[in-house]
């Protein structure tokens, strides 16, 4: 908790809030130029655009910069006689994972609440299901089959909002964990922090080339530009990332003594 508290400085929280507000500002500017079927359309509008592209960069910005600075400036070395290294790294890993998860959960769930409840309460948006040859009843049925994860809407809007926000946050946290291990292993800290983003882009390119669009990272996390797929398909890229993280964890812990970043 201490580690998380020290990372949550006023400046960092304000910067995060400003970044988080970007989709809202974009929505307020553009809302009259679009026809929204329903509340789900508003929600996906918020999360589309720049976010899928900047997703991994934002995930890395939450905590990895702090951790990388501590390694680069050798602060970690001076903690070593005060706390066992493995314990310290566990604390740092947990802080990175939880902060990133928490930040993205608040972000996604906040926009879910805004789209599903607040925007209609405030009358910020008008729905036009008729533009899509739907009515107020059929649009609900249609929403269940619109995108991957919207199957969950059958169990209630909040269930969908909660689980989908958790899903986005989990992916952000796993990408941040990947960056965490790279920062630990690699000498070049910029390259280490950039690695998750390169993997995200390169992985997307490869899966697109191999005609496996459902397994593209952006489509698994923000599945709004394609037809609904079974939810398990979204877990395939995550499973790959988790495997990679595990391999990096094993490598990092086996070679702690030889790690110049820590001695």
């Amino acid at each position: 908790m201490k580690e998380i508290r020290s990372a949550l400085t006023f400046k960092r929280v304000v910067i995060s809030l400003i970044i988080m507000l970007w989709p809202f500002v974009y929505f307020m500017i553009q809302r009259n130029n679009y026809s929204f079927r329903d509340r789900l359309d508003v929600f996906t509008f918020m999360l589309e655009g720049m976010l899928p592209l900047a997703f991994v960069i934002l995930a890395a910005l939450v905590y990895l910069g702090i951790f990388s600075g501590e390694i680069k400036n050798r602060f970690i070395v001076y903690t070593r006689l005060r706390i066992p290294l493995r314990r310290l790294l566990r604390i740092k890993f947990a802080a990175n994972f939880l902060l990133t998860w928490g930040t993205f959960f608040v972000f996604t769930f906040g926009y879910f609440l805004f789209s599903f409840y607040i925007s209609s309460l405030l009358g910020l948006v008008e729905y036009h299901p008729e533009f899509y040859k739907l009515n107020e009843v059929t649009v609900i049925q249609e929403s269940y089959t619109r995108h991957t994860f919207t199957q969950l809407l059958q169990y209630g809007s909040l269930t969908y909002g909660f689980l989908y926000s958790g899903w986005v946050a989990l992916n952000a946290a796993v990408f941040a964990s990947l960056g965490f291990f790279m920062v630990l292993i690699m000498r070049n800290q910029f390259a280490a922090i950039s690695f998750p983003f390169l993997l995200y882009i390169l992985g997307s390119f490869i899966t697109s080339s191999a005609d496996m669009k459902a397994f593209r990272f952006p489509d698994a996390i923000f599945p709004f530009s394609s037809v609904q797929m079974p939810i398990w398909t979204a877990f395939v890229p995550l499973a790959f990332l988790t495997f990679l993280c595990t391999a990096l964890y094993v490598h990092a812990t086996k070679n702690l003594e030889r790690n110049d970043n820590l001695a």
């Binding site: 702090i66 400036n73 602060f75 070395v77 903690t79 006689l81 001695a263």
Partner: protein, 212 residues
Amino acid sequence: MTVINLDNVSKSYKGIQLFEHATAAFDQGKIHGIVGHNGSGKSVLFKMICGFIHPDAGQITIDPVYRDKRSHFPVNFGIIIDRPGYIGGITGYENLKRLADIQGRITPQEIRQAMTQVDLNPNAEQKVKNYSLGMKQKLALAQAIMEKQEVLILDEPFNALDADSVHSVRELLLAFKKEGKTILLTSHNQEDIDLLCDQVFRIHRYALERVV
């Protein structure tokens, strides 16, 4: 009483042989100087003593007083190895507070006292990334002494210090010696070694030769 004992220690680091059957004993309450040319292995020696890296062969024994069953590392050791470590975006005091909070053994007053001892202003708002090299060095010294560590392992503690600071740090180290602390230090300045050290070891042909 011997605090640190090296027995037939061999070590190669990044493919370069640095020590071969090196043997030395460092006694309590003395200042020990380690000299040697650049790259001779002074920092590696200190890292081995601290348990950050292990000898390829031989043994380094630390007095059980400075060992903890729960840790692979010596306790009550204050260190500066290679260069200072810090978090750039916060003040010097906040840096030391972060380190002190890990064990929670000392009060904020004791942190301030350690900063004052090395001529740093604990109330300064200046972030460490804006510190001069000498100030960073003083901050490193402050973290090495703030928890009243009994054994000080100081790799080039006078690096980048101005003449007045060198003088006051020398005085500080001599005062620590009087208190019974054990100090191992390296310095490229022979005057530091001559003025401070009771025993001097030279790293020569992969061994630790006692020269004084």
